[in-house]
Symmetry: C2
Subunit: 288 residues, 2 copies
């Protein structure tokens, strides 16, 4: 069975705006895992910031575990460990829950999972897991993007029924490359220009070239609802819809910025063949 | 007469911390151009942020003038117009007051000049003038530096008796590459490692390589007093001491960031031969 492509991208010479075809909040009725206000904010903005969900002791544990994994010479030579350009510093670590009990337990933590499964009204599985460590002094920017655009085109995710969960592992300040989000952007799908070659993910994890939204669309989102800089203390949780436009500036400050990032996908939204026609990306980037 | 080099830099293999040998506030007694609190803050932090000094009408005039100058094909081919790497977009415009009556008048505006001359307790002249336009979407970072380090080594400025004045030409938000300052850093001179070749300024205006402070010193300043992000509405004025450590992150947002930047040097602090032994930089970068 071939699924209809509700959100075609990288097929036209100019960007197209497509109305969202899917709900934002799938959950119905009362819940004790989120307040009504939190649900409304998530629906309106496409994201929700919940400060100080995890204790400092828990965050210390996650940091220690990251350092243990990154400093293991055999482990850190695996392709799951993405280094900064021209450096041995780990910028991203993928799928750590597959080789760390500490991170495995965190993916099942009800403080996250129950909220996500209410919003998606489904059981979920981990579509992608990564730890994003933006070093101090020369941390690189991450340009604006909708994750869904990539997951749809390159991984074959059919619908907008996935939620990203970011857990802050240290102070996320306005000046050290915090996550930036464009409120309301989740309601429009912005198709990107250009074709995607096979295996481009190896480069794109270091520097993006495909799936880049056009400047006109970004300006329109910005003029409508501005930008929210997600400043948070350690242990905070940011839930955001798979189609919310987000990015982060570089970081020249001495304060590195480190976050855990889990993507939960609804089991009824499981991956099919990539809509962009390329071969599927490896399992550590998109679990099947 | 050869002046003693009070602040040697780029001569040692490791960074040295040298106590400031000069006053921060030279002015004595009462004044009606700054409040006592403003003077105390400036002395303690090494900078002072004064919001909304100029009206929107005035700021509109300065923006229109910048666009007129930048779009003039003959003018903009002059070496005073510094372009973004790999682009024709003007990143910095030097010495605009030498060919624009609008900017000339602004350098003499008493709302700035009287404050600066009180703090320096001397007549002043414009040591350097530039307009810094950090474009949206791909504005580049400007790494931490003390201006005085460069002006001393490369231009022969003997003492710390100069003040930078930044005038915001649009919204400076935390997310679009606002000026960042390290409070208290003006009280220590951090010498930089390495020698300076002749004529390196042509490259350094695009990307810095010399006069770069070490990470350990920056971390120490940060741990002592943190970082202030100078978020300001248009028409605000930031006065900062020539030795205050400052920089700015890149800018991926749609909102370009544009500032006017004048440096006023005390006439008794006029330039001598560069302390680094190189030939003097051109007049449009350091007026003599």
């Amino acid at each position: 069975m071939v699924l209809e492509d509700l959100y075609p991208s990288r097929t036209e010479a100019t960007a197209q705006w497509i109305d969202r075809q899917d709900p934002v909040v799938y959950g119905k009725g009362n819940t004790n895992v989120l307040t009504q206000e939190q649900i409304e904010n998530y629906k309106r903005d496409g994201f929700l910031i919940i400060k100080s969900v995890f204790s400092q002791e828990e965050i210390d544990l996650y940091n220690t575990e990251f350092e243990r994994l990154s400093s293991d010479p055999i482990l850190s030579s695996k392709e799951e460990f993405i280094k900064e350009p021209n450096s041995r510093v780990v910028r991203s670590l993928f799928a750590a829950h597959q080789f760390s009990d500490v991170y495995k337990a965190l993916t099942d933590d009800e403080r996250i999972r129950a909220k996500v499964e209410y919003l998606l009204d489904d059981e979920t599985y981990v579509h992608q897991a990564r730890i994003n460590a933006k070093p101090g002094f020369n941390g690189k920017e991450f340009y604006w993007h909708s994750d869904f655009e990539t997951w749809h085109v390159e991984d074959g995710m059919p619908n907008m029924r996935a939620i990203s969960c970011l857990i802050t592992m240290n102070e996320n300040k306005s000046y050290n490359g915090s996550l930036m989000l464009m409120p309301g952007s989740h309601n429009k799908f912005v198709s990107c220009v250009g074709q995607t070659p096979d295996d481009h993910y190896k480069e794109s994890l270091r520097k993006q070239e495909y799936g880049v939204p056009d400047q006109e669309s970004l300006t329109k989102f910005y003029e409508e609802n501005g930008i929210v800089v997600a400043e948070c203390p350690p242990g905070s949780v940011i839930l955001f819809d798979c189609n919310t436009m987000h990015g982060s500036n570089g970081n020249i400050t001495p304060l590195a910025r480190r976050n855990i990032f889990f993507v939960f996908n609804a089991v009824t939204n499981k991956l099919v063949d990539p809509f962009g026609g390329t071969k599927p990306r490896p399992d550590f980037i998109a679990h099947r």
